[in-house]
Amino acid sequence: MLLTTNDVKKIAYLARLGIEDHDLEAFTHDLSNMLNLMTQMNSINTDEVEPMAHPLPQSQRLRADNVTETNQREHFQHLAPHVEDGVYLVPKVIE
């Protein structure tokens, strides 16, 4: 396999994605298979090829710096798991 369970643990932490220990083997297996598929790309020579990030060659549009949106803080905070006094609550970060 191209990856070890330790590799997957590291990647999962980078992605802030919890993986249960009993699922690690399966993810390692599947990701290794995916990587195997991806290494097929090496059979094509791409020296001198300009990478393509986007289907259409265009630059970002600019617009006048005018206010177009109104503040909807309360409306949006209705969706949040925990809010208090207009701020989003998370576990204490700084003691």
Binding site: Y13, G18, F27, D30, M34, V49, E50, P55, P91
Partner: protein, 489 residues
Amino acid sequence: MHTKTIKQLAEGLRAGTFSSVELTQHFLTRIEKFHALNAFITVTQEHALTAAKQADKRLAEGNAPLLTGIPFAHKDIFCTHGIKTSCGSKMLDNFIAPYNATVVDKLHHAGAVMLGKLNMDEFAMGSSNENSFYGAAHNPWHENVVPGGSSGGSAAAVAAGLAVCATGTDTGGSIRQPAAFCGITGLKPSYGRVSRYGMIAYASSLDQGGPMARSAEDAAILLQAMAGFDEKDSTSINEPVPDYSRHLTESLQGLKIGLPKEFFQHGLNNQIAQDIDNALNEYRKLGATIIELSMPTLTMAIPAYYVLASAECSSNLSRYDGVRFGHRCEHPADLTDLYLRSRAEGFGSEVKRRILMGTYALSAGYYDAYYLKAQKIRRLISDDFQHALTQVDVIMSPVTPSHAFTLGEKTADPVHMYLEDLYTIAINLAGLPAMSIPIGLSADTPEAPKLPVGLQLIGAYFSEAKLLNIAHAYQQVTNWHQLIPTGFE
């Protein structure tokens, strides 16, 4: 009423044969009756009946747009103000969208009546609809068969006559493949043609919304209402939208059809190959000539796509952190635990695999080998298409290597599932428009049910009108698009 075209229904509404409320009630009753298909995640009955009443009023006043009073449904990836927008995920099971997607606004202003939100693979990642948090939708042609994905609910609903038409989105084939599996007509427009504002992002440089309908004629009407420049989408293209319905009946005399030989090699089901031959013969009769093409880089589309789509997915889905909206775990010990567990609980396995894959491909030391390499291959594939489309007017190919498969058949091996996308994903990499139209049914045997077959039409940038014209011409001389699965007549 559920087998009529949009035009026929529009005439009926204007002639007073039935009202939009009656029409809407008819579809709501069918949705209830065929609940087991699991095509809908949310049915917005009250909303629909209110919209239908308004449509009837607008119709009575005259000058109502063509879609006024026509019942349709949205894929649950489009944000609908005040209505749950789940994207097929537990992560957004409690998400009531605070605004409308541009496509939702546009169809609302066009007077169309939204029946509800359709089932889909979680965050549009999947080819079978089995990755939905709400369970898989079923194929109306056979209950044990997948409807395709990710817009599986859209395809199932239209094929079963639970909605006149539906919206879908397509990142790697998610409109075309389910359209093929369910025997309907689906169109993925050129990248930038339909606004992505309010369409929940999976892979932003590939995602594109489009129409799913029972015919090219209906798809043209729906696309007309969906397409157009939107300043809220930074990748929207400011090109005029042609009158799609007006071009439908143009002659195909002299049409040059290209067949990339790489799409007709090993792995293609014999019967599908035969159905495509038959369809090509119809096109010859309509005045087309067939030219064989070679596009060798097409075979690299799957690996390149899964690197790029996973990379974009891992960045896009980093917004689901359990803080401002979406699922949050119980009693987090600290902030890191909050992120880790909220995301672990909120996402399904396929989404996790792609986030992990994308994170890996973008991480230090691997970026050049995977992400950059894939972007270079994307360029080669795009160049291949550009070159081919200078020689021919349209490229035709299969949509899928085989007929719709059985539920559970491919879930054990993700890579096996990815290979399903062989014929569709290169088109997203290039950003081109492409359609799927029904061209046959498999033989009915005791072992395998009768299942639809699709043909893919691929065109140059902004050639949607031409593609719809080519599809419509075929549908004028054949009746595959009019077939209705048994039990849904």
